[in-house]
């Protein structure tokens, strides 16, 4: 079904054919818009060169134009339905997927949707003030694109809650607008979404490491036997690609500029020359990577096993895997610390599904490091960036009770305290990065600490006036 833009809420789910649901979502819409005005981007703009979804099929789905942000057409878009789709895993493997929520899985599915939904407005809140210090109009536009699409992803989850979970779902949809990132009384559900995003290096790290976690979480929900959830996540993944583009190329450009300044002044102490030292970039990688690893949950999880067995949440690339997709007879290895030594345990594969997903994620992140090290190598520098050990700085899971260095040494609390400022951003590091965050709003200009992009958006040049201010 094509997207109906004549409706108050653009959609491809025939909202007009379900008056009760339409009214419920139309009554939620003003609350969303009020949340956007109070918690969304703080910089006032007239319009922004944004991508809007206009279709979901193979014929192309995006349209670019200058749009007043508060008039962005947030809507409900599901990927096209495959009427032959079967459950790919778990104890109901091979049976038709569900178009309604089975009563026995109602609470678990609602919980999964609420957790995913909670992350979407959280990141908008975290990034609310970043526009005030954008390094270029190009970057400001990219920030706003990420923000409006995270807002749309909230719509996607709210649609599911309203359409399939009755009063409980409607209450949860309201609560998604009541919790706020970093709020002491009513914080967002997951830790990484209560962390600050106070500067653009943090933003690029967040869109690389944390949005990449989103790629994997959405990828597992795309496998769900609950077909509306699967189709919702499939389309969200299209939009999520842009967020990873922003993160990957954003860090590329920070590293490129750091390498240029390091070469130019023949020192890694490039702070006084308006750059972000590679040592500080490494600390930001250490922080954002470790916080994002926590999002995968504990290495052993009966919840994850139950979700899989029930068909609620699959594995990454479930249908391409060459096993029985039931896993009751399989085992897997998980990393842990025993008697002060890093080791591995063999456990039932069903219990290790969080670890399985995290392993896939880590492989992606390793590619990012190769990419950034290629920049350093091409600049003729010997310095290399790296991913810290997966046990480093963990707050969730088997490593959370241990202190592990980025190189993977298990150390005591005294060593950790003495050395942590070498591994994680210090107040002085953050202050320096913040001191560089000065807005550059002139078309074609860029801040000193970051290299310009190699190309613009949608074939527009970097100099294009992507944002008009009010």
């Amino acid at each position: 079904m094509s997207i109906d833009y004549s409706e108050k809420i653009p959609n491809n789910v025939d909202l007009a054919g379900d008056r009760k649901l339409q009214r419920a979502l139309e009554s939620w819409q003003p609350n969303f818009l009020n949340w956007w005005k109070t918690m969304g981007p703080a910089v006032p703009t007239e319009d922004v060169y944004l991508r809007t979804a206009v279709a979901v099929g193979r014929e192309g789905w995006a349209h670019f134009d200058h749009v007043a942000m508060e008039e962005y057409r947030w809507g409900v878009f599901l990927a096209e339905r495959n009427t032959d789709r079967k459950i790919a895993f778990g104890e109901q493997k091979g049976q038709p997927v569900w178009q309604q929520v089975p009563g026995e899985y109602r609470a678990d599915l609602q919980r999964l949707i609420v957790i995913q939904g909670d992350t979407e407005p959280a990141s908008v809140e975290q990034q609310r003030r970043l526009g005030e210090t954008a390094p270029s109009l190009y970057d400001l536009r990219n920030l706003f694109q990420v923000n409006v699409e995270e807002g749309r992803h909230l719509w996607a989850m709210v649609y599911l809650l309203h359409a399939f979970f009755g009063r409980g779902g409607r209450d949860e949809a309201e609560a998604l607008l009541q919790r706020n990132s970093g709020d002491l009384d009513s914080p967002r559900i997951l830790g990484a979404f209560n962390e600050e995003t106070p500067d653009w290096l943090s933003f690029f790290m967040f869109t690389y490491f944390t949005d990449r976690d989103g790629k994997y979480q959405l990828g597992t929900l795309k496998e769900s036997a609950f077909d509306p959830l699967s189709r919702t996540c499939e389309f969200m993944l299209k939009e999520e690609s842009h967020h990873m583009f922003v993160g990957t190329t954003g860090v590329d450009r920070v590293v490129t500029r750091a390498a240029e300044l390091t070469r130019q002044y023949d020192t890694e102490e490039i702070g006084p020359h308006g750059g972000i030292p590679l040592d500080v970039i490494q600390k930001y990688i250490n922080f954002h990577y470790s916080v994002s690893l926590d999002l995968f949950g504990s290495e052993q999880s009966t919840n994850a096993a139950n979700y899989f067995t029930a068909g609620l949440k699959g594995r990454w690339q479930e249908e391409r895997r060459k096993d029985d997709h039931v896993l009751t007879e399989n085992s897997a290895k998980i990393d842990l610390v025993r008697d002060g030594v890093l080791t591995q345990d063999e456990v039932p594969a069903l219990l290790a599904l969080n670890s399985d997903l995290r392993t896939e994620y880590i492989a992606d992140c390793e590619n990012g490091l190769k990419r950034w090290n290629r920049v350093l190598e091409n600049a003729g520098l010997d310095r290399r960036l790296y991913l810290p050990h997966l046990g480093f700085n963990r707050g969730v899971g088997l490593f959370s009770e241990h202190h592990i260095t980025p190189k993977g040494d298990v150390v005591g609390p005294d060593v950790w305290e003495a050395k942590k400022d070498c591994w994680l951003p210090t107040e002085a590091d953050k202050t320096h990065v913040r001191s560089l965050m000065k807005p550059v709003y002139e078309p074609g200009k860029i801040a000193s600490w970051i290299a310009p992009p190699t190309k613009g958006i949608n074939d527009k040049p970097f100099e294009y006036e992507y944002v008009h201010f009010s």
Binding site: R58, G60, S241, K455
Partner: protein, 113 residues
């Protein structure tokens, strides 16, 4: 190396993946498409739209098509027939258009009906 395109793309070249790629890193040979391992950002947008499941992460390539992992890089790193230098990483496929030639591995592949 991030995502790669393998043998099922040969003589199909559906090109849906080209439209999805946010960094324009999918280049067109004569009989097959190739992903630049340097320019790919690992977003995964291309993978689900391929009608013949030719695209996967390098670590998940079907063992029968393993040679295509290195071959995707070969397309960019070596001097292809009729060219003076390697394609390298030009920063986007649109700028150079269809390359129109393939790697030796693909060129030698028996044509699909």
């Amino acid at each position: 190396m991030p995502y790669v395109i393998a043998e099922p793309c040969i003589d199909v070249m559906d090109r849906s993946c080209v439209d999805e790629c946010p960094v324009d890193c999918i280049y067109e040979g004569s009989r097959k498409l190739y992903i630049s391992p340097v320019e790919c950002i690992d977003c995964g947008a291309c993978e689900p739209v391929c009608p013949v499941e030719a695209i996967s992460q390098d670590r998940a390539v079907d063992p029968d098509f393993e040679a295509h992992v290195a071959d995707n890089a070969t397309f960019f790193d070596t001097v292809l027939p009729g060219r003076d230098e390697p394609i390298g990483a030009p920063g986007g496929a649109m700028g150079i258009g269809a390359v129109g030639v393939d790697t030796e591995l693909v060129a030698k592949h028996t044509p699909q009906a």
